[in-house]
């Protein structure tokens, strides 16, 4: 249970980090919060030859608010998200979900960028970024580009980042005032990996009909899983109990293939998805109605 040897770099600037990434592309690993990488290194599942620690680059840790978005530096700790007033006011889905991420001790170190790049299908932040339609800024020595969250997660523990790129910023769009939200998950114990979880957003028009619905699931497949058929059922409709039930059936029975694990069978995960979808849609709808008044 000790990591294999590696060469360690702790650059003070992003430029220096990008130079190192360019030099050691494909061999080096970025150390962000280390809450997933260090366990993997302790198990020797991951044995990077170079480790580039971003923790000394203070310019990568910030939460900045403007009219249309909130920009979050990749090295911002999950604990900072949890207590940030601009996120509480303007991205309530994220605010509600962050306390579900592991334990306070983990959130004190874990970063938004680290969790996104790790791309664990059971993690909360990838699902939340997907649901919120966040944009992610990737930078390398040769330039920068923006990637939509939905294009960023390409598979299990796999992202669209090139070997020499570093995720440096997350841009969260600030949603309309008529969008209700809900995040729910079921875990054997608070802070454990969830067996199933869902992020739901419901936007209502002035007449209380669903203008837009978003459902994204964690631990339901190889990455964040969306259920477009269920969303389509809700469009232009008042969210009646029957309709919510139909959406929950579509999402859980037709649109996902959870793998199961030592704690749960795929059937039980689907059952949880059904129940959580029903509850989350109702809560999101109720909150949207509250905002209409």
């Amino acid at each position: 249970m000790k990591p294999a040897p590696f060469e360690y770099f702790a650059p003070d600037s992003l430029k220096e980090a990008l130079d190192l990434m360019s030099q050691y592309a494909g061999e080096a690993k970025i150390l962000a919060g280390g809450q997933s990488l260090v366990p993997a290194m302790n198990f020797r599942v991951v044995q990077p030859t170079q480790l580039i620690d971003l923790n000394r680059i203070s310019t990568l840790s910030y939460i900045q608010e403007d009219n249309h978005s909130i920009r979050v530096g990749a090295m911002t700790r999950e604990r900072q998200l949890e207590f940030d007033s601009s996120i509480a006011r303007r991205v309530p889905l994220l605010y509600e979900a962050v306390p579900y991420i592991a334990h306070p001790q983990i959130r004190n170190r874990g970063t938004i960028g680290g969790s996104l790049v790790n791309a664990d299908p059971a993690a909360e932040l990838p699902v939340l970024m997907f649901a919120l339609e966040a944009r992610l800024k990737a930078q390398s020595k040769s330039g920068e580009r923006w990637v939509n969250a939905r294009d960023f997660f390409v598979g299990m523990f796999t992202t669209a980042l090139e070997p020499d790129e570093i995720l440096v910023e997350v841009e969260l769009p600030v949603d309309s005032s008529r969008t209700g939200w809900s995040f729910m998950e079921v875990a054997p114990r608070a802070g454990d990996y969830a067996l199933m979880g869902v992020a739901a957003l419901v936007t209502l028009d002035a007449n209380g009909k669903c203008e837009r619905a978003k459902l994204v699931y964690l631990n339901a497949g190889e990455g964040p899983v969306e259920t477009p058929e269920a969303e389509k059922l809700l469009m232009g409709q008042i969210l009646s109990d029957e309709l919510v039930e139909a959406a929950a059936s579509s999402a859980s029975e037709k649109e996902m293939n959870p793998f199961g694990n030592i704690h749960t069978s795929p059937e039980f995960q689907k059952h949880l998805a059904h129940v959580l979808t029903r509850k989350a849609l109702k809560q999101a709808n109720q909150r949207a109605e509250g905002l209409l008044q």
């Binding site: 249970m1 000790k2 990591p3 294999a4 040897p5 590696f6 060469e7 360690y8 702790a10 280390g34 809450q35 260090v38 366990p39 290194m41 302790n42 198990f43 480790l51 620690d53 923790n55 604990r79 592991a102 334990h103 306070p104 001790q105 983990i106 004190n108 170190r109 114990r189 608070a190 802070g191």
Partner: protein, 172 residues
């Protein structure tokens, strides 16, 4: 080639200088390099919470950090709760108070530990928790403890100890 990196770390308000290999975990550094064996090592992958310490005042898993990352930072371990000079030799009847931190004293009085393996990590989790939440409900206490495994107590006496500590710490 093995890299060796000089670091300076403040642990329990005392400065230590050492040279470390980058792969040395902070938990091993505290135990093997500094001899501070109060920090326990359980699972070494962030699940059990036994190695929890304060890093710049916040609870973290010391098995999920490298010692080099602590260069220039402040750490508190369980040894820092009650300085050794103020710890009287504990009598069998438990009669002498004053040498323990109120949180430790409460664990003793409420029988909040049996084998004691998880205790340092639990104490270091609770210090910032009680600072942020001096009057916690039982639910909040159980939630705060969710990242620390105890295989002896069934947690009930730990919860009792935290309630007692909250009272003691309010008074002091």
């Amino acid at each position: 080639m093995t890299q060796s990196i000089p670091i300076t770390v403040m642990v329990n308000e005392k400065e230590y200088r050492r040279e470390v290999e980058p792969r040395m975990l902070l938990s091993d550094f505290l135990r093997h390099e500094l001899g501070l064996t109060g920090t326990h090592v359980g699972c070494e992958h962030g699940v059990c919470g036994a190695c929890t310490i304060l890093f710049e005042g916040e609870s973290v898993r010391s098995c999920l950090m490298f010692a080099v990352q602590a260069n220039g930072y402040n750490i508190t371990t369980v040894e820092g709760l009650a300085p050794p000079s103020s710890s009287p030799h504990l009598l069998e009847d438990g009669g002498r108070e004053g040498g323990l931190h109120p949180l430790q004293q409460s664990f003793w009085e409420a029988h909040g530990l049996q084998c004691g393996y998880c205790t340092p990590g639990i104490l270091m989790t609770l210090i910032p928790f009680l600072k942020q939440n001096p009057d916690p409900t039982e639910d909040e206490i159980r939630h705060a403890l969710s990242g620390n495994l105890c295989r002896c107590t069934g947690y009930q006496h730990i919860v009792d100890a935290v309630k007692l500590a909250a009272e003691k710490m309010k008074q002091s």
